[in-house]
Amino acid sequence: MRTRAARFTRILSRLTDRRFLPVLGTLLTLVIMLILGQIFFSTRRGGFISMPLFSNLLVDNSYLLLLAVGMTFVILTGGIDLSVGAVVALVGLVIARLLTSGVPLIPTLILAVLIGTSCGVLIGVMVQVFGIQPFIASLAVMFLARGLANIVSVISIGITIPANGRTDLYPGQAQFAALASWSIKFGEGRGIWRITAPMIIAFTVITIAFLVLHYTRFGRTVYGLGQGDGGTAVQRMGLRPDISKITVYAVSGTCAGIAGLLFALYTRSGYCLSGLGMELDAIAAVVIGGTLLAGGSGFVLGSVCGVFVYGLIQVLNARWGLQSWWAKVFIGAVLLVFVLLQRALTIQRTRRKQAALVMADAIDPEFR
């Protein structure tokens, strides 16, 4: 029994580890918001907290989940990727243009995701090989992708079931439209909710990302890179910081590619101005989710929570009947609070580091 007790306290101390503090903060925020919603917006016919709520949250934010997951990888290494919003637009337009010109669905989707990957690799190579600041490298790719999107088309291209019924000429378009409206339904009446393709894709990616970050050497290297010594320590441990860094941006780009697909499914169209500022939404969600912008600390699941907070603010805002810009005000306020919280944590961390150094000096053999 004593060993079990010891094990329990050990697990408890691990759970209350300061690393989890920011994420616990995010969870708390989420819970408070849900409770507020439950108090103010429950009707006799159903509570605010319900499966339809979560289902709708996921439908409206699946692409943001993808972006946040990719962004988490990048921010963990201490980098940033500003290109993802533009990549979403580019990928959406490429999908729309290809499908409406008769290209089959599967090759289109593969190409779409690969466009995202190559944008990421481009940033990664600029950052790692040429030593360019991630901010600038991804800014360049952002302009590049946005520009290319405009070259593909300056007007919105809808992806619908061909009106003339020529599904044989545009097989991909029809399949895509079918995929967009496909869902598994649960419940009935007002309690109806569904699982859609984007949800399944998003959850698959989140699971893979979690496994990769926590259970592979690459994932741990990502955390190691975030300590901000240019990868020296990681390299001395015999890991590969250079390849890992490029891979991180490739992951982010790939996620942006998939997010582009999800956004196209969501809007059933491609448009060169979609995804404006979406990269900032993703960064905000990641930071609200407890990931340190300086790198080295954070969790994929935290970012998922961050996206939920983000989405829930908008839902609550709409239910309250406020204008949509108030949602931005609230998101800004929440972000501000979380950044200040992070700052407090990092200050404490450096203080402790200094204290450790002082102690090391105090036990200097010269003084014994």
């Binding site: 690393r19 926590h214 050497r217 320590a233 102690m359 090391a360 000096d361 053999p365 014994r368």
Partner: protein, 510 residues
């Protein structure tokens, strides 16, 4: 031992960095089952040699062979695969990962591509227990003090069945008991046939544990000796490249003189009740021309804070400071510079040298700052100044156009000294000028300080190493807990034990 063949043989190793030949045709051999000490001053090439062995740097010429087979490492994982594990001088671990990961990552137990956390924590714990370290392997590394982190690095190095173990200054942040622990493990490994390469600044430790010694100087090989054949003093003279007599001469020079002070002499600087809340309690201090005053006390006792007030880097909130009898009103580094007060910082890397600028620019920095941005120093004048100090301080390599980051720590320190000397200060404050500097350069800088005092400069000297203070200073102010608790005159009879007693008792006995 000699009938065995060496596990590592290095022949003619040469590595050149822009402008510096870090290694110059060095031969080296390491036998299984021996502890081999690699000795040399800062910048002698020890770390470079180790980094060549571990694949961080590549040789420009020469060859490394392991058990007779020539190898060429282009990254660290290759050398680890060849059976070389290393503990680097600075703790080179990842603070935001767990202890277990830091010990095991790179050879962690896995299921397919996935890390088996349970097995990894178990293996890490076993390795840590061998060092008698019982910490939760699932805890974050940065939550432990530096000494423990250093032990984790050692646990990491000993966790693989390595043929060769390289320990670069592993003891610098360990306490006595931990050092003993490390030594007993080193002996175990040695008995098991592991070849250990050991680098340390502490001669005591080298003589306690090593079997054989290789000495480097300025990137070149001086020689290889069995420990039993090499008395300490001879080792030092090999490292420094000076004969024993020369060393003795430098060391014994200072203390014998006596300073006579005129009754009515006005102190160069006088602090009356000078203090700043939360930094240092109000203190009195008088500094006279031609005098070296030492500040001693533990780290964090307020030494640096006192110096910063004297220099004007911080503004006092009580008391007053008089320079040559005139009260100082405006506290700022620039103002102090104009009044010919100079302060050389303890944090050489962060507050001192500007790594990407050349030696010449680093020397000119303070002088230029005093002249202001619109009056550049004439090139001829600057060249003369740089030339003078590079020769008088013997800065090596003697090329003022090298970026200062390519110089060794000791030489960087000399450049810093030159920077402040170039402003011809009347009061020079040196905060830990000898930290991380080897024996020879230490003696040299001590000599320079003494010479400067002879020429009438007033010097405040801060150091953690009491022996240095006792050797150089005329008067010693003792600090504790942000208080100046005592002031003693240095004399033949004063020994470090007395000062320790004063610190321990809080200054009541004196």
């Amino acid at each position: 031992m000699d009938q065995q063949s060496p596990v590592i043989t290095i022949r003619g190793a040469t590595i050149t960095f822009p402008g510096v030949r870090a290694l110059d045709g060095v031969d080296f051999r390491l036998y299984p089952g021996e502890i081999h000490a690699l000795m040399g001053e800062n910048g002698a090439g020890k770390s470079t040699l180790i980094k060549a062995l571990t694949g961080v740097y590549q040789l420009d010429s020469g060859e490394i062979s392991i058990e007779g087979t020539p190898v060429r490492f282009t990254n660290t994982s290759q050398s680890q695969a060849a059976g070389i594990s290393t503990v680097y001088q600075e703790v080179n671990l990842v603070g935001n990962l767990t202890v277990a990961e830091n010990v095991m990552l790179g050879h962690e137990p896995r299921v397919g591509p996935f890390i088996n956390w349970r097995a990894m924590r178990k293996a890490a714990q076993d390795n840590l227990r061998r060092l008698h370290l019982d910490i939760d392997p699932g805890s974050q590394l940065s939550s432990h003090v530096i000494g423990v982190q250093q032990l984790c690095a050692i646990a990491r190095a000993t966790s693989t069945a390595a043929k060769v173990l390289i320990l670069d200054e592993p003891t610098s942040s360990l306490d006595r008991a931990e050092v003993e622990e490390l030594f007993s493990i080193m002996r175990e490994l040695k008995a098991a046939g592991v070849a250990i390469l050991f680098v340390s600044h502490f001669l005591e430790q080298v003589y306690e544990i090593a079997d054989r010694i290789t000495v480097l100087r300025n990137g070149g090989l001086v020689g290889e000796w069995l420990l039993s054949d090499l008395p300490r003093f001879e080792l030092i003279s090999h490292m420094v490249g000076k004969s024993a007599d020369e060393l003795n001469a430098i060391a014994g020079q200072v203390k014998s003189e006596d300073l006579t002070r005129l009754e009515d002499e006005v102190p160069l600087a006088q602090a009356i009740g000078l203090g700043r809340r939360q930094m240092i309690e109000p203190f009195d201090l008088e500094l006279y021309e031609g005098e070296v005053v030492g500040l001693v006390g533990l780290l964090g006792s307020g030494r640096t804070e006192l110096a910063r007030l004297l220099y004007g880097a911080d503004r006092p909130d009580s008391g007053e400071l008089k320079l040559k009898g005139q009260p100082v009103k405006l506290f700022s580094p620039r103002g102090s510079l104009r009044k010919q007060v100079a302060y050389s910082t303890e944090d050489r890397k962060r507050e001192g040298v500007v790594g990407d600028l050349t030696v010449r620019e680093n020397i000119a920095l303070a002088l230029q700052a005093r002249r202001g941005p619109f009056r550049p120093i004439p090139k001829k004048e600057l060249d003369a100044i740089v030339e003078t100090f590079m020769t008088s301080l013997d800065i090596h390599p003697a090329n003022p156009d090298l970026p200062i980051k390519n110089l060794s720590g000791g030489n960087q320190q000399k450049v810093l000294l030159a920077r402040w000397l170039a402003t011809a200060p009347e009061l020079l404050i040196l905060d830990e000028p000898l930290r991380g500097i080897d024996v020879g350069t230490k003696a040299e800088i001590q000599r320079i300080i003494t010479d400067l005092a002879h020429q009438g400069m007033s010097i405040v000297f801060i150091s953690s190493e009491l022996e240095e203070i006792l050797r150089v200073c005329h008067r010693i102010a003792i600090m504790r807990d942000r208080h100046k608790i005592a002031e003693v005159a240095n004399s033949e009879t004063l020994v470090s034990a007395q000062i320790f007693e004063t610190i321990a008792s809080g200054g009541r006995t004196s």
